[in-house]
């Protein structure tokens, strides 16, 4: 098989496409976690986003409504999580796990009538440039708007956290909710907002799968991507840029090992399938070795329940 330059361009383009849901979900969860909330319901929120996006597309025949609707459904389901953990002070881990199980079940039920319905083609941007420029064409052009948004998101997130006042407040709440509250910051409100934002991004990540990446509804189609996104956030030590790197490595090796399997490398298939997980963890652990930076980026109060003294 000849590895000509245009093939590599197409390969990179497809790697980028496959990492989009990870980038979206992980960036959303990163903000949630930076405020001190550990939401393990990423997988559940993604799958709900996937089915509601697809269902809305079928019902309204309008992709815009479908995308917005998927984000809203992510918000609604994360609102349940927010209410339970922030207002009723339930345990973050247990509630998040329940949310995932709930999401998977609910999506299967809602999706029953949508199995087998073909999806609609999602508009891609700059499709003419994709064909005309060799190598860079398929990398830079011919993607959906969601992909461009996803690749901008880690940088926007980084800017938000480091340069804006609101980002500072989010970090402060994640560092010490008691201090923040004593400084007059409404910790519960900030955390609610971060949870809902995380929900919206997870919903969008799900919709990307069911509307753009593989435009159809398949039960359980997120296939563990939510868990990968969660792991990415931790192994990237809560740094948005490292989340992007991690998502690309994961997406890259996933695609590459598929090609390797197709070519028929004499490596056990099981090992190849495990490769993306292994490599992502190794690379992220290696690039995040600076223990001082880890300490500065880790939200100290992550997963701890906060309530205001009365």
């Amino acid at each position: 098989m000849s590895l000509d330059i245009s093939f590599i361009g197409i390969l990179i383009g497809s790697i980028m496409a496959s990492s989009v849901p990870l980038i979206l979900a992980a960036s959303g969860e990163l903000i949630t976690e930076r405020s001190g909330v550990l939401n393990l319901g990423v997988e559940g929120m993604m799958i709900i986003g996937a089915i509601s996006g697809f269902a809305l597309m079928v019902i309204t025949d309008n992709l815009f409504i479908a995308i917005v609707g998927s984000m809203l459904s992510g918000i609604i389901i994360s609102l349940i999580f927010g209410f339970l953990t922030q207002s009723l002070l339930t345990n973050h881990v247990a509630t998040g796990l329940a949310l995932t199980i709930f999401g998977i079940g609910l999506s299967a039920m809602l999706g029953k009538n949508f199995v087998g319905i073909p999806g609609k083609e999602f508009p891609i941007l700059f499709s003419s440039l994709k064909e005309s420029i060799p190598f860079f064409g398929p990398i830079l052009f011919g993607h959906s708007i969601v992909l461009y948004f996803a690749f901008a998101l880690p940088f926007l997130t980084n800017y938000f956290l480091k340069k804006t006042k609101l980002g500072l407040v989010v970090r402060a709440v994640g560092d010490s909710p008691v201090s923040a509250s004593n400084q007059g910051i409404n910790v519960i409100l900030v955390r609610y907002c971060c949870i809902l934002y995380g929900g919206a991004m997870c919903g969008l990540a799900g919709a990307y799968l069911s509307l753009i990446y593989t435009p159809q509804w398949i039960e359980n189609m997120t296939a563990g991507r939510g868990w990968i996104a969660l792991a990415l956030v931790v192994f990237a030590t809560w740094s948005p840029i490292k989340v992007l790197i991690g998502a690309l490595i994961f997406g890259g090796i996933t695609i590459l090992q598929l090609h390797m399997q197709a070519i028929g490398f004499r490596i056990p298939v099981q090992f190849l399938s495990a490769l993306p997980y292994l490599m992502t963890i190794i690379v992220l652990v290696v690039i995040s070795r600076d223990s001082r930076k880890i300490k500065l980026n880790t939200p100290t109060s992550l997963g701890r329940i906060f309530y205001r003294e009365k």
Partner: protein, 499 residues
């Protein structure tokens, strides 16, 4: 403009405890006020109410005759009441500047300018762009103070500000506070340290069990009178009978104790040699950070050093771990009650069970003998007058004094021959300190020995039979305590020499 803060009939009731019982007080600017009381007297509750963190069940706060509604910390800020909490309210992972920026309304440039002005005016030196977790306790406190000053406060409340400071830092703080006071800021200083009240404050209000029991001018008070008001009874003066006799057996003997560490935060110990006789208290003085931590850990067996000889009751124990040493009837009370001596999340009886002996039968065939441990714990609670009889209580809910009593009780109930304690009264109030001191003296009276490593010279002079000073990992010669004066100790602790 003069500030006048009045608290009128404040009450706050928690389940099972009246934290503030009809408290009324008046403060005027230009003076430094002390709010004095034991742990749990209700001081912290009162200041939390003043800073809007909690709201009172009853009562009102007036600032310049304006009735304040303090239902959130924001309200206190708006009304120019600044507060420096005992446990810092800072964000460790954010930089100093970010910490100060978080509730600022101006842009970064002018904020930085104003901060630099304050730094210059009060001679603070703090790097604004390092994360707070890299700062010392004194510097963190300065950041808190700057945060208050940025809002040009009328009232500044300091909650036990010196509990984490070194003596040098305390002096600097007092100088700053006096400056603030001269500039017209009303200062309320909460503490249980009597000497600070007398040296810093103009007026003192004493609280006990949620009530204000006395308000007076500090110039009319002495340490003893304040202590009696605070505790509510006359404190017995403790004096120890010095009992050195040459012909008593040496029970504990350390030879060639050397310790070398690569860690820049640890102190190397250089050739320490000392011995303790039966029924004797050996005091080891020194400014903290001169090797006391390392010495304690080596004596307790947490660190094993090569080529050191430790003889205890005629046996070589230098290679034994803490548990094995305990079996030989040694007992230890580390400095940090919360993280070293006890597990705060565990219940009282569970903490008691941590110090288990073969003979105590707390565990049978790998199972916990809960009944036995609880009986044992109840005995400790009553024998050492811990202020609860509920062995199911989580240890974190005990006050410092009660926790220390529990820890000492746990160590002493096995009737050890030697107790090694490190700053046993650190951060405690006078009542608890008195109790601990009495207990330590009682041990010596029963012909058991103690090694007291302490940074409190007064405590050392009161309790020790012989005293040595540790400075930069080296031990001075050991002196009989009647030959030692506070001045002599001070010189040795600072690295000087006497005679």
């Amino acid at each position: 403009m003069a500030t006048d803060l009045r608290i009128s009939n404040i009450s706050k009731i928690y389940p099972g405890c009246i934290a503030n019982d009809n408290v009324s007080l008046q403060f005027k600017s230009g003076k430094i006020y002390a709010l004095l009381g034991e742990n749990g007297a209700g001081k912290s509750t009162l200041v939390k109410i003043l800073s809007g963190v909690i709201s009172p069940d009853n009562g009102e706060v007036f600032l310049n005759e304006k009735n304040l509604k303090l239902s959130s910390p924001l309200d206190a800020k708006k009304n120019k009441i600044g507060m420096v909490f005992q446990h810092f309210n800072l964000f460790d992972t954010l930089s100093v500047f970010e910490n100060l920026n978080i509730d600022a309304t101006e842009d970064n440039k002018s904020l930085r300018l104003r901060i630099n002005e304050i730094l210059k005016k009060y001679n603070f030196s703090i790097d604004l762009d390092v994360p707070v977790l890299n700062l010392s306790a004194g510097q963190k406190q300065k950041v808190e103070i700057i945060r208050c000053l940025l809002r040009s406060p009328k009232v500044l409340i300091m909650d036990e500000p010196t509990s984490v400071l070194t003596e040098q830092e305390t002096e600097e703080l007092f100088i700053s506070l006096k400056k603030f006071c001269d500039e017209g800021i009303l200062i309320i200083y909460i503490t249980h340290k009597l000497k600070e009240v007398l040296s810093l404050c103009d007026e003192v209000a004493v609280m006990r069990k949620g009530k204000v029991v006395s308000v007076s001018q500090t110039q009319n008070e002495k340490v003893e009178t304040l202590a009696n008001k605070m505790v509510g009874q006359k404190l017995a003066k403790i004096r120890k009978k010095i009992n050195i006799s040459k012909n008593k057996d040496e029970i504990f003997k350390v030879k060639h104790l050397n310790f070398y560490s690569d860690d820049p935060f640890e102190t190397n110990l250089v050739n320490l040699n000392f011995s303790v006789k039966k029924g004797e208290c050996l005091g080891i003085a020194g400014i903290s950070g001169n090797g006391q931590n390392e010495l304690f850990q080596i004596l307790s067996g947490e660190i094993i050093t090569p080529n050191t000889s430790i003889i205890f009751r005629n046996k070589e124990i230098a290679k034994l771990n803490p548990k094995q040493r305990r079996e030989y009837l040694m007992a230890f009370s580390p400095e940090d009650r919360i993280s070293q001596a006890a597990v705060p999340e565990l219940k009282i009886y569970e903490n008691v069970a941590l110090n288990n002996f073969k003979s105590s039968n707390f565990f049978e065939k790998g199972l916990v003998n809960e009944r036995k441990i609880k009986e044992h714990s109840k005995k400790i609670l009553s024998d050492f007058s811990v202020n609860t009889d509920n062995v199911e209580l989580k240890s974190q809910f005990l006050s410092g004094g009660n926790l220390q009593k529990l820890i000492l009780g746990r160590e002493l109930i096995t009737a050890p021959e030697l107790l090694i304690c490190y700053n046993p009264t650190w951060g405690l109030d006078v009542g608890a300190i008195n109790y601990i001191h009495e207990t330590l003296i009682k041990i010596n009276d029963q012909e058991k020995s103690t090694i007291l490593i302490s940074t409190d010279t007064e405590e050392l002079l009161k309790l020790s039979d012989r005293i040595a000073v540790i400075y930069k990992g080296k031990l001075s010669k050991i002196m009989p305590s009647e030959e030692v004066t506070p001045e002599k100790l001070g010189v040795l602790m600072g690295g000087g020499s006497i005679d």
